[in-house]
């Protein structure tokens, strides 16, 4: 499974990067790399069976009073 995911990332790089390098769009390439790295840190641990925290954890904490105020008793 990990191999498959890495393969997907390689395919994405193969699709996008040559065009960017040819036109010397370094700023664009940096943005692309940042986003792709973020995508990797989210997806590869999932494939390895590690627990990735959900973005809902902080949302749940911050907006708990709001929800409790609205919860029908």
């Amino acid at each position: 499974m990990v191999v498959l995911v890495v393969l997907v990332f390689l395919v994405i790089i193969a699709i996008e990067v040559p065009g960017l390098v040819k036109e010397k769009m370094w700023r664009e390439l940096t943005a692309f790399a940042v986003l792709l790295l973020f995508g990797m840190t989210l997806s590869i641990p999932q494939v390895l069976g590690m627990h990735v925290p959900s973005p809902n954890v902080p949302i749940e904490l911050i907006f708990k009073p709001f929800a409790e105020w609205l919860t029908p008793k």
Partner: protein, 358 residues
């Protein structure tokens, strides 16, 4: 970049699809029980407020998206931080929509299929569409939104004529006090607050002066559809409707026309197209906004990495429908904070700094 143009009608239709395609699946007002239809109407006020604020800001900063004028209004550092909040909101919304899409299909039509398989197909189609740009998404939507509306209206009409449906189930109004109604309103309002996507679309509208009516029409029609669907569900299930995960789907399952059953397959297929248009549209907006945040000229090459992020998030964002039911009000709080409070704050800043009247 070639100038992208969409007509006001297409803009309003995109907004309607964005709001209704997932709202008719999860039916946000259902938490209010018998008062679901009322919640849909009260939530309209919040939706209209978002629409007015967003279109006002859009007209004060012509040609600028919400990402760009946030930076103009709040300065470089705070502006960047706040526009990042908007971007993460759009990404969160896209992940949530993809989760809706996956969980709905894996619980209704393709029972037993792992959600990841459905989500991968969903996001791949969205990537394909988003790479063709906003005009294509708008035109696809122009074809399918009438189908979605017709399917909803037709299904509702059929259900109303069935023997088990009784409109008097709507009574008594406010049987458990005002709290359920408020909770339902908050959930409806977070859906109608998705009108904030117009903050990214108003610069593409042509002619420009209709932004206000586009936003208001979009929110109004979405709210009417939601009210109709809520009435159907309450008329069928009465006070039991909060216990259903997909209330309208459960209602559609009951349709039987002279021994022809399972018409839900036809109807849900059309809804799924709606959810797919919503994901493509959000993906386009996110790519465009991210490119503007990094100050880049093009955005097409950002679509694939963003799609990977959205796909990964959609698989961890919620683990079950029950979890969603438990924390849906917290999620509403977050969505309302970004889509109502932040634009209101921007508007206030614009008024104080005198940028509101030039």
């Amino acid at each position: 970049m070639a100038r992208v143009k969409i007509s006001p009608l297409q803009g309003a239709m995109l907004l309607i699809t964005t709001i209704t395609s997932t709202a008719i699946i999860l039916l946000p007002g259902a938490i209010a029980g018998r008062d679901a239809w009322l919640a849909s109407l009260v939530g309209l006020a919040v939706g209209l407020a978002v629409a007015v604020i967003i279109s006002f800001l859009g007209q004060r900063f012509p040609g600028k998206t919400i990402i760009e004028y946030t930076e103009i209004l709040l300065g470089k550092f705070i502006g960047k931080a706040v526009s990042a909040l908007f971007l993460t909101f759009f990404i969160y919304l896209a992940a949530l929509t993809l989760w809706d899409f996956g969980v709905f299909i894996s619980n209704s039509l393709l029972v037993g299929t792992p959600m990841v398989a459905i989500n991968i197909i969903g996001i791949l189609v969205a990537v394909y569409t988003a790479r063709y740009g906003l005009e294509v998404i708008a035109r696809v939507n122009q074809i399918f939104l009438p189908l979605i509306i017709i399917s909803v209206v037709a299904a509702s009409t059929i259900i109303f004529t069935m023997p088990n449906t009784n409109l008097s189930n709507v009574l008594p109004v406010l049987e458990n006090g005002i709290k359920p109604l408020l909770a339902g309103t908050a959930k409806v309002a977070d859906w109608l607050g998705e009108a904030i996507v117009l903050g990214m679309v108003i610069p593409f509208l042509h002619p420009k002066k209709n932004a206000q009516s586009v936003a208001m029409m979009g929110v109004l029609i979405s709210s009417i559809i939601l009210t109709l669907v809520s009435l159907v569900v309450v008329a069928t299930f009465g006070a039991n409707s909060p216990t259903l995960f997909f209330p309208f789907y459960s209602t559609v399952l009951l349709i039987e026309i002279s021994r022809v059953l399972r018409l839900d397959v036809v109807i849900t297929t059309i809804w799924i197209i709606g959810a797919f248009i919503k994901i493509s549209f959000l993906l386009y907006i996110i790519a465009h906004g991210t490119a503007q945040w990094f100050k880049l000229d093009k955005h097409n090459f950002l679509i694939l990495p963003l799609a990977v992020i959205i796909l990964s998030l959609s698989l961890i964002i919620l683990h079950s429908v029950t979890e969603y039911e438990n924390i849906s009000l917290q999620i509403s709080g977050y969505l309302l904070f970004i889509s109502l409070m932040l634009p209101a704050f921007l508007l206030l800043t614009a008024v104080i700094t005198g940028r509101a009247n030039n």
